[in-house]
Each structure stands twice: as structure tokens, then as C-alpha cells.
Symmetry: C2
Subunit: 204 residues, 2 copies
Amino acid sequence: MPAAKAQPVDVRERILEHATRLFAKRGFEGASLKDIAEAVGIRKPSLLYHYPSKDELRGAVLAHLLDRWNDLLPRLLVAATSPEGQFDAVIGETVRFLTEDPDRARLLLREVLDRPQAMGKLIHDHVRPWVNIICNYIRKGQQQGTVHADVVPEAYVVNCMSLVLSNVATHDCLRSFGAEAADSYTRELLRIAKSSLFRRREEI
Amino acid sequence: MPAAKAQPVDVRERILEHATRLFAKRGFEGASLKDIAEAVGIRKPSLLYHYPSKDELRGAVLAHLLDRWNDLLPRLLVAATSPEGQFDAVIGETVRFLTEDPDRARLLLREVLDRPQAMGKLIHDHVRPWVNIICNYIRKGQQQGTVHADVVPEAYVVNCMSLVLSNVATHDCLRSFGAEAADSYTRELLRIAKSSLFRRREEI
DNA sequence: CCTACCGATCGGTAGG
DNA sequence: CCTACCGATCGGTAGG
């Protein structure tokens, strides 16, 4: 009867949480296994029992983040029906996913900087499919005349991804810029994304 | 007569070059003083003679980058006269400055992630003045009807900065996305920035 | 899950 | 600008 174990929540998951937070805050090289272990409340060798090396922990952290993203995707893609509604759902949920825990954006940006080649392959495998779906909606919108004709779909979507990522990741840093409301930058981001995609009513 | 010294170019500057490159590639914690010194062709204690600590080297690298940026600014701000020409000059030169050496973008992004508070102050001091100038041009454009009325100037400029920075920094990683031309992402970035700012002729 | 310990490497110093 | 060296900390292992 293991009645009074330290914390009931799965230790492996608590390790991932604190590893995500510390990798995001200090970077992979800047966050030591000792610090992560002691944030969880165990010793370094105990952490290495669950994840046998720091590199395997890095991989597990990234896989865990992508799992949460994949949880979101299916209901996101079938949610809306109209082209503009679909777009709002997709970019809105993406922003919400990253804003809910900004460490996700910071970690992803750091991984892209640290290992561009490996992340390129990973993005190609995990993100390409739904990018293609968005691109098809954009092309359909161009045929119907609701989307600007000079949009380059793939490049547009990639730039939007970059923009959302860096907007959330640098949120703390850039908030010191003005006295405006905290989410005014994110609202302007959505305006930029939509304004550069859809033709306005008065144009049609 | 010190005839055959190793390299005639200033050693301090060569240290800054290699430190910029290695900090950008591996991060501050991931790049060791030994690696930087040996890339220059000297030993670690010799590097520490020129920059007495790793933190002072970090500061010098950042200051050097901002100096290059400040070299660019004055001629950039007086270059064009029309609002749209001014905008093209500013964002075009910003892209060129970062594209010329993508390590600049990578280093700045890493610094923002590593030390958001310190970078917030630094941005406030060094970048705020010319952001204000751009914002005034945007507001003038809004009064004249050439710029969309719903643009929030400060938030727009900050988002554009974020977008340019992350676009250049993640260039290597995202190029693997499609078979398109290497600069198609950057061209789409410029289109997004302009399309979400200026009203199209047919609207006016 | 722990204590005890490993060799390697870190930023930095002494001294010339 | 160098060699030689410092204590501290790194990721990881042995053994229980």
C-alpha cells in the first residue's frame, strides 16, 4: 500500500512540465538536469532513470508539446464551414494554444534556432499537412474573389506562423513598449493577418 | 618592428565577429569562450584580456550590433519623402540589414528570449525613437486616407519588427517547407506588411 | 528513488 | 599574447 507518496501526479509528466518551463526560460544548454530535477522535487539520478539522457528529455519535451498540438487539430479543422470562419478558427486557436502557455512558443523558437535542420524535418512531417489544407482554402478564396489574388499561399501561412510564434514569445519583452492594453499587440496581429488576406467588402 | 603579426585586422573586432556567429548559432550558454577564442586563433586567457568576462563580451557583441544599426538609421529616415516611399525604405532597409547577416536576427531573438527585461529596456532606449517617427507617418497617412483607419500604429510596427526578425532568423528552417524560390517568403512578408497598412487604390 | 562518485569542461586567475 | 592551474558545475554511472 503506497499510501503517502510525495505527489500523486505522474512523475514523468511533472518532469516534462518543469523541463519545458526551464528549457523555454534558459535554453537547453542553460537549464541543468540538477535544476530541473530539484524543481520536480527529486535528485538528478532519479530524473535520469525516467529519461536516460538530456537529449532524450529534450525529445520527450518536444513530442509532448506536439501531442498537445495534435489534440487540438482535428476539431479545429472541422469546426468552421465558411472560408472566413475557418480562417478565424484556425488562427484564433493557434494563438490561444500558444498564449495559454507562452513557454510553448519560446521553446519552439529556441528549438528552431538551436537545431534548424532537425526542426525543419519535424515541421515538414507534423505541420505540412494542415498547412496544405489552409492553402487550399486560400486558393479557393482566390477563385471566389474573397481573397487577394497576389497572396502566395504557402509563404503567407508560414509568415503567419512565424508572426504568431514570435509575437507570443516576445510578449514579455515588447509589452514594455507602450502603455497600451496587454493584448493590443495580439489583436493587431489578427488584423494584419486578415487584412493582408481578405479583400474588403468595398473592393468587391 | 612587429612585422609578421598573425592577422593585421583588429583582434577585438575579430573576437566580436566570431562571438556573434557562435552566440547566434549555439546560444550564449552553448558557446564556450574556448571555442570563440580558437575560432579567432588565440587562447582563452588572451580573449579574456580583451573582454574581461563572458558577460562583458555579450554586452560588447550586442553594442556592436546596435552600432551597425545606428549607422544605418539617419540616412534611412531622411531618404524617402512620400509616405509610401518612406515606408518602403524603412522596412526594406531593415530586411536588408538582417538578411545581410542573418546571425544578427538570430542573436537578437536569443537575447530577447534569454533576457526579456534587459532587452525590453534596451529596445525602449534604442528603438523607441524611430518607431515614434514611423508611427507619426502612419497617423498622417490615416488622416490623408492612404492608410487603413483601423491600424494601431505602435502595435503594427512592433508586429512588423517581430515578423521581419523571425522571418530572417528561421529562414534556414522554413526553407525546407516548399520548393519555392528562397526569397519568396521575404517577398510575401513585404506584401503582408504593405497590404495590411495601405488602402488599395480601388478602395479610395 | 537515493548517495557517492566519475571524467570533462566551464568561466576565470596567476604570473610572466 | 602564452602556459599552468583554480574551484565549480556539467551530464552521466555504479550500486544499492
